[in-house]
C-alpha cells in the first residue's frame, strides 16, 4: 500500500516535471560577423532586431521560449549548410544569392519579409593602381566573397561591361581577408560593401565603382526566412517572430532614429561615418523596408534568372510558392503599419506613398 502510494507520488512528480518541458529554442542565424569576428551584423534590419533585442522582448513573458542567435563567419554559404543540417529555424538577413542557391538545392524555406534592399556594392582598388573602371579589371586578380549576394551583383556589373567571371581571376576571400588582401597588395581589386568606405577615407584604397549610382539590379538584397519545418510546427511563434522583425524594421526606417540606427550597426566595428556616407541623401525607409512589393519580387526574379545564366544554379526555382506574406500582413495589421512604407513597382517607380516619408518631411521642416 505504502509502496504503491510512493510509486504513484513519484510518477506524479516525474510527469509534472515532464509538463515543464525543455524550452523551445528559436534558433536564428545571421550570415556574417563584424570586424574582428564580433557577433554583430550591419546594413540590414536583422542586425537592428538583434541589437535592439526585439525577439527577446517579444518572448519575455514566455519562459518556455528561448531565442538563440548564431553568427556565421562563412556568411550565406555556411548558413545554408546549417539550414541543410536542420540546425536553424530562422535565417535573418540571408542574402539573395545564397537563399536562391539554397532553394535550388531543395532547402525548404519560406520568404517572410525583406531585411535590406538596395544594398551597396563597391569596387575598391589600391590608390596607386591603374585600374580606373570596371573594364580595366580584365585579367586581374579580384577578391570576392563567393556564394554571397556580392557575387551575383558583381557578375551583373561585369556583364554590363561585357565581361564574364572567366575574364577576371576571382579569389574567394571572406570580408576580413579580402580587406587584408587588398591592403597588402595581394589582390588588385576587391568587391565589397560599406566596410570599404572607411578604408577610402583613410587613403588606403580607392573606390572606383558604387552600385547606388547604377540600376537597381546591381544592388544587393537580403531577407528573413523560416524553415517550413518550424513554420508548420509553430505558426504562432513564427507570427510573433515576424511581428518583432517588423517592429525593428519600423524603428529602423524612421528618420528620427537615423543616428541610433548607424550606431547600432557600428557595433560590428564598421564606423558610424561609413554608414552615413553609404546612405547619404537616401532614406532609411528605402533600405529597411519590410514590405513584399513588386519591386522586391522583381529583384529576386532577376537574381534567380541571372544565377541560372551564370551557371551558379542548375535548376530554376519556383518563386511564387516561396513568398509567404501572410505573417507580414498580420504583423502590419497588428502594429497598424499598413500604410507605413511606400510601395514600388518592378522598376522602382513608386506606386503608393508611405507614412514614414511624411514623417521625414515633417522632421525636415
Amino acid at each position: 500500500m505504502k509502496r504503491t502510494f510512493l510509486a504513484v507520488l513519484l510518477g506524479g512528480i516525474l510527469s509534472a516535471g515532464a509538463a515543464f518541458a525543455d524550452p523551445t529554442v528559436i534558433r536564428v542565424g545571421y550570415p556574417g560577423v563584424g570586424v574582428d569576428n564580433q557577433p554583430y551584423g550591419y546594413g540590414d534590419t536583422a542586425s537592428l532586431a538583434h541589437v535592439g533585442k526585439y525577439l527577446e522582448d517579444a518572448f519575455k513573458d514566455n519562459p518556455d521560449v528561448k531565442v538563440q542567435w548564431t553568427f556565421f563567419r562563412g556568411a550565406g554559404p555556411e548558413l545554408n549548410e546549417a539550414l541543410a543540417a536542420h540546425q536553424l529555424d530562422f535565417a535573418a538577413g540571408l542574402g539573395d544569392l545564397p537563399s536562391i542557391v539554397g532553394r535550388s538545392r531543395g532547402l525548404k524555406t519560406k520568404f517572410l519579409l525583406p531585411a535590406s534592399e538596395h544594398g551597396s556594392l563597391y569596387l575598391a582598388v589600391s590608390p596607386k593602381s591603374n585600374i580606373n573602371t570596371i573594364d580595366d579589371l580584365k585579367g586581374h586578380k579580384v577578391a570576392q566573397f563567393r556564394g554571397t549576394n556580392l557575387q551575383i551583383a558583381s557578375d551583373a556589373v561585369l556583364e554590363a561591361h561585357s565581361l564574364t567571371e572567366k575574364d577576371v581571376k576571382f579569389v574567394s576571400l571572406t570580408t576580413a581577408d579580402g580587406l587584408a588582401a587588398l591592403t597588402s597588395g595581394n589582390v588588385d581589386a576587391s568587391f565589397g560593401g560599406s566596410e570599404y568606405l572607411d578604408l577610402q577615407k583613410r587613403g588606403i584604397v580607392k573606390i572606383i565603382y558604387a552600385s547606388k549610382t547604377d540600376a537597381p539590379i546591381f544592388g544587393t538584397n537580403s531577407a528573413f526566412f523560416v524553415t517550413e519545418e518550424f513554420e508548420q510546427a509553430h505558426p504562432d511563434l513564427t507570427q510573433k517572430v515576424v511581428t518583432a522583425f517588423v517592429k525593428a524594421a519600423a524603428w529602423g526606417s524612421t528618420e528620427a532614429n537615423r543616428q541610433q540606427v548607424f550606431e547600432a550597426w557600428a557595433k560590428s566595428g564598421v564606423p558610424v561615418e561609413s554608414f552615413a556616407e553609404d546612405l547619404q541623401g537616401l532614406s532609411l525607409a528605402r533600405e529597411n523596408t519590410a514590405l513584399i512589393d513588386d519591386f522586391i519580387k522583381a529583384r529576386y526574379a532577376d537574381k534567380a534568372a541571372k544565377a541560372k545564366q551564370y551557371g551558379l544554379i542548375k535548376k530554376e526555382i519556383d518563386l511564387n510558392s516561396w513568398f509567404e506574406p501572410k505573417y507580414l500582413e498580420a504583423a502590419l495589421k497588428e502594429l497598424k503599419l499598413e500604410n507605413f512604407w511606400p510601395t514600388y513597382d518592378a522598376n522602382g517607380k513608386k506606386l503608393t506613398d508611405g507614412a514614414v516619408e511624411s514623417q521625414k518631411q515633417a522632421a525636415a521642416q
Partner: protein, 329 residues
C-alpha cells in the same frame, strides 16, 4: 620451403634435367663416358656429341603447353584480384553505405549528394575539359614544389649525415621548424610572397623538404659500418663509395622520405588552393562549397585521392626497380 606452383615445377624439372645434362657434358670432357641409367620414367638419349638429354615424357605435354604464357589479360586479372582485391573491399563497402545513405536520406542530400550525382558532375567536368585543366595545374604545381623541396632535402640530408658537426649546428633549428604545421606559415608567407605561384611553390617545397631531409639523413647514417668497411678495403674513392655502397643501401629510407614528402606536398597544395587560389583542384573544392554544390567537392576529393594513390604507387615501383640488386633472403 615455399609451395612451388605447378608450371614452375615442370620448368624446374626441365632445367634441372638440362643441368644434369650439362654436368654430364662436363664429366665427359674430363673423360667420363656415361651409360644410360635405364630409369623407366626418364628417357635418356646420348647424342653423337655425347651429351645426355633427359626427358620425362609424361610431362612433355604440359611442358609444351607451358611455352604459351597465359594471356596478358588473364595475368592482369589475376594481379588485380589477388594484389588489389583485398584493398578494394573496404572502399566498396563505403560506397554501398554512401548509396544507402542517399537512398534513405540519412544525411541531407545537400550535405552528402548521391553517388550518381557525383558521377554526373565528374562526367560533365571530364567532357568539357575543366577537370583536366584544374588537375594539370595542380599537378604542375606539386611537381615544381616537389622537385625544389626534394632537391634541397636530398642535398641537406646528405650533408647532415656526412658532417656530424653540421648536424649539431643545424639539427635543433630543423626540428623546431619541422614541428610548425605548414599552414601555420601561410599568413607570414602571404605577406612576404603574396598569393601567387610563389606561395604554392614554397609551401609545397617546405612540406616536401622536411621528410626528405630526415629520410636521407637517417638512410645514409644507418648504412652499416660493415658496408663502409668493404669500401675502405677495396680502396674506393669517396664518389665510388657513395654511388656503389652508400646510396644503394640508403634507398629504402630515402624513398620512404620521398614518398612521405610527395604525399605531404600534395596535401599541402590542396590546402593552399583552398585558401588562396584562382584555379586548381583545391580551388574547385572551395568553389563547390561556396555555391552549395557539394558534389563538386566530393568529385574533387576523389580525383585528389586517386592521384595521391598513383604518386605513391609510382614511387614504390621506382624503389623496387632500384632495389632489384637485392637478393631476397
Amino acid at each position: 620451403m615455399a609451395r612451388i606452383p605447378p608450371q614452375l615445377l615442370t620448368q624446374s624439372l626441365q632445367s634441372s634435367a638440362a643441368l644434369a645434362a650439362d654436368q654430364h657434358a662436363a664429366l665427359l670432357l674430363g673423360g667420363y663416358h656415361p651409360t644410360p641409367t635405364g630409369d623407366a620414367l626418364m628417357q635418356e638419349t646420348i647424342t653423337e656429341a655425347g651429351v645426355v638429354r633427359a626427358r620425362i615424357p609424361a610431362l612433355d605435354n604440359l611442358a609444351a603447353k607451358d611455352h604459351q604464357q597465359p594471356s596478358a589479360v588473364y595475368r592482369l586479372a589475376i594481379f588485380v584480384v589477388t594484389r588489389l582485391g583485398p584493398g578494394l573491399i573496404l572502399p566498396l563497402v563505403l560506397l554501398a553505405v554512401w548509396q544507402l545513405s542517399a537512398t534513405y536520406g540519412w544525411l541531407p542530400d545537400q550535405i552528402l549528394p548521391a553517388p550518381a550525382l557525383v558521377l554526373d558532375v565528374l562526367q560533365e567536368r571530364i567532357s568539357d575539359g575543366s577537370l583536366w585543366d584544374d588537375t594539370s595545374i595542380s599537378l604542375l604545381r606539386v611537381l615544381r614544389g616537389f622537385t625544389l623541396g626534394a632537391g634541397i632535402g636530398l642535398a641537406l640530408g646528405g650533408a647532415l649525415a656526412a658532417s656530424p658537426r653540421l648536424h649539431d649546428y643545424l639539427n635543433p633549428l630543423f626540428l623546431a621548424v619541422s614541428q610548425v604545421p605548414i599552414l601555420g606559415w601561410v599568413p607570414l608567407l602571404i605577406l612576404v610572397i603574396g598569393i601567387d605561384e610563389g606561395l604554392k611553390n614554397s609551401l609545397v617545397a617546405l612540406s616536401v623538404f622536411i621528410p626528405v631531409t630526415l629520410g636521407t639523413f637517417q638512410g645514409i647514417r644507418d648504412v652499416p659500418f660493415a658496408y663502409r668497411e668493404v669500401g675502405q678495403v677495396l680502396t674506393f674513392s669517396r664518389l665510388q663509395s657513395l654511388t656503389t655502397i652508400i646510396l644503394p643501401a640508403a634507398v629504402p629510407a630515402i624513398f620512404t622520405g620521398l614518398r612521405e614528402g610527395l604525399s605531404n606536398g600534395w596535401q599541402t597544395l590542396v590546402a593552399v588552393e583552398l585558401l588562396a587560389s584562382t584555379e586548381g583542384l583545391g580551388f574547385q573544392m572551395a568553389y563547390g562549397r561556396q555555391l552549395f554544390q557539394l558534389e563538386l567537392v566530393i568529385a574533387a576529393m576523389l580525383v585528389i585521392g586517386l592521384i595521391g594513390f598513383l604518386f605513391d604507387f609510382l614511387l614504390g615501383r621506382i624503389e623496387t626497380h632500384l632495389q632489384r640488386w637485392q637478393v631476397a633472403a
